[in-house]
């Protein structure tokens, strides 16, 4: 699994490539933990290139969601492949997360923030 991060309009855009399962989820978690510790609370997780996600991957997203809500932030998702989307729907996470087709839309959906632009 590969992770790449960018910051756009004060929002962290994290693109995940590959499979997310119990074997490698700790890597994703620690990356998110580092970002949260730095004070980030708005995220777009780009799942375009995620070919597989199990319950541990979903749990990580739910955990992130709960943590950012404390700081009045949000997590939005984009690019979910149909088979991953199906899994989301099975446990009704489609009602919890706002999802978009691409990064651009997802970032644009956040309300304008007062932070200075990089």
């Amino acid at each position: 699994m590969d992770l790449s991060t960018a910051r756009v309009r004060g929002i962290v855009v994290l693109a995940v490539v590959g499979e997310i399962d119990a074997a490698n989820v700790a890597h994703l978690r620690s990356c998110l933990d580092d970002l949260l510790v730095k004070g980030e609370h708005n995220f777009v997780i780009d799942l375009t290139d995620v070919s597989f996600m199990d319950s541990s991957g979903l749990a990580t997203l739910v955990q992130l969601f709960k943590r950012v809500r404390i700081g009045q932030g949000d997590v939005r998702l984009c690019g979910m492949q149909p088979k991953v989307k199906r899994v989301f729907e099975l446990i009704r996470l489609d009602r919890v997360f706002d999802t978009f087709a691409g990064q651009g839309e997802a970032v644009a959906s956040f309300p304008l923030l007062s932070e200075p632009q990089p």
Binding site: D21, A22, A23, D54, S55, K66, K83, E89, L90, I91
Partner: protein
């Protein structure tokens, strides 16, 4: 003695390591596709398998990485049966709390996924050691949940 058609299911032995799950998915995908299941159905089978293996490794084997897990896939005209055999602690389905879909939880969805994605699921604890998990998927499964 009359000849009886004997179908021998492909079998795979895995070490009880989380990093072996990807290989098991690939193995299952190949057999599911050979059996005529489409990619979406195969990905659901792979997810059920991943959840089952995670449970065996973390719970039945308490994360010991030197144990054995046996898989087999049996295909017939109507079904694909995936079996997972471990030799660890017994898993009693009845002792699990049911999942509350009303509020998102961090964890506890593994068994829920297995039961939502497969048509018949049975944990047989009567085997001498460990558990025998049998999961059946009908070819003609429609959307569920």
């Amino acid at each position: 003695m009359s000849a009886v058609a004997v179908q021998i299911p492909p079998t795979l032995a895995l070490p009880s390591r989380l990093d072996a799950m990807g290989g098991a998915r690939t193995w299952l995908d190949a057999h599911a596709r050979i059996a005529g299941f489409d990619p979406v159905a195969s990905s659901e089978l792979q997810l059920a398998l991943t959840e089952a293996l995670s449970n065996v490794i973390r719970h039945s084997y308490r994360s010991a990485d030197n144990e054995t897990i046996l898989l087999s896939v049996l295909v017939d005209a109507d079904t694909l049966t995936l079996t997972v055999r471990d030799f660890g602690d017994k898993f009693y389905r009845a002792t699990l709390r049911s999942v509350d879909l009303g509020s998102p939880q961090v964890g506890g969805y593994g068994v829920y996924f297995i039961e939502a994605l497969m048509d018949e699921v049975e944990w047989d604890t009567s085997v001498e050691q460990g558990n025998l998990l049998r999961m059946v998927r009908l070819r003609a499964s429609g959307p569920r949940g």
